[in-house]
Amino acid sequence: MRPNIIIDGHCHLASSHCIPFEFFRGVASNTARQITHQGITSNVDSITKMLIAQHSDHMADGLVSQMDEAGIAKSILLAPDFTFVFKTETSIAEIAAQHLEVRKRHPDKFYIFQGVDPRWGKEGYDFFEKTVGEYGFEGLKLYPPCGYSPSDKALYPLYEICRDKGLPVLLHTGPTTPTLSFEFANPYLIDTAAKDFPDINFILAHGGINFVEEAKLLCKYRPNVYLDISPFPVVMSSEGWESHLESLFKQQINHKIIFGTDWPVYSKKKRDQTPNGKSFL
């Protein structure tokens, strides 16, 4: 049954202010390797510049336009905290303020999940409390490949805030930019925290396309664990994303599956998601 409204459960502000140069550079190194093997000569510096140039939608006007065209009523904007591990020109506080401005500019369009690296300690705790209190943000975004387990006890004070306010926690799973370690990318790492905080809903970002078997099992047997399917068009499946999702939807965990695009990694627009002409939405 088609839902009354469509919510994109996983997207980002396509703004170079929110993503560190080293993150782009890692993605560019993979891209350069890929397109060189397709016979296109390029280099990491050039691709890095192009990636940064593609992230100029600082106030989300382009994003809202795509949402409207795709029939998406609302999106969850995720603001991961890379500032502990990468040198950045923009602080995490400034990134949060930018997201707040975006929401003011586009009322009723966005929920915001704020990222905090647990190694900021009390400073990070106070910051997160401010974003979900004063700013009214609606969840916590974690990026374990920055170098911590999502069940690290240093996160528990943040989880206590989420539990007390009834907020969800979304954590990245799977490989990412090669300038980060993939050591903490496995979804099973959330299990201790999910068991210790049964009242918090934990969402495995990309769980429908990365470590899918592990994510499926966690969703099936841990009541408070969910997964999202972003960015499903690029799933590594020889049968294509349609067949992959069809299989996922037959696992009796449909009540745990959240739609997401991972914009700007992948477009919300129908054709972009459906090179063979089929449409998800």
Partner: protein, 82 residues
């Protein structure tokens, strides 16, 4: 003459576009299914094929959304010898 070459480059970076009619009004994302990676590949190829400096024209090339506008932009650059 630029249009045929641009279409050839599009078909190289987005193999699924072979089955689609490509004309001046074709939009890269909406009509041809371009991802951000496809855009990077096409801009790289345009730079190499038409001897255009990507650094000098990146901002404009990133913003172009249709095949026709791409062809027009290449014409303009080649006319002024940039």
């Amino acid at each position: 003459m630029y249009k045929d070459k641009v279409i050839e480059l599009i078909q190289k970076v987005q193999v699924n576009s072979h089955n689609l009619e490509i004309n001046n009004n074709s939009r890269f994302v909406e009509d041809l299914g371009f991802s951000s990676l496809n855009s990077i590949m096409l801009i790289t190829l345009i730079g190499q094929t038409f001897d255009i400096s990507i650094d000098d024209h990146l901002e404009s090339l990133i913003e172009i959304q249709t095949v026709g506008d791409t062809v027009s932009y290449i014409h303009k650059i080649k006319l002024v010898g940039a």
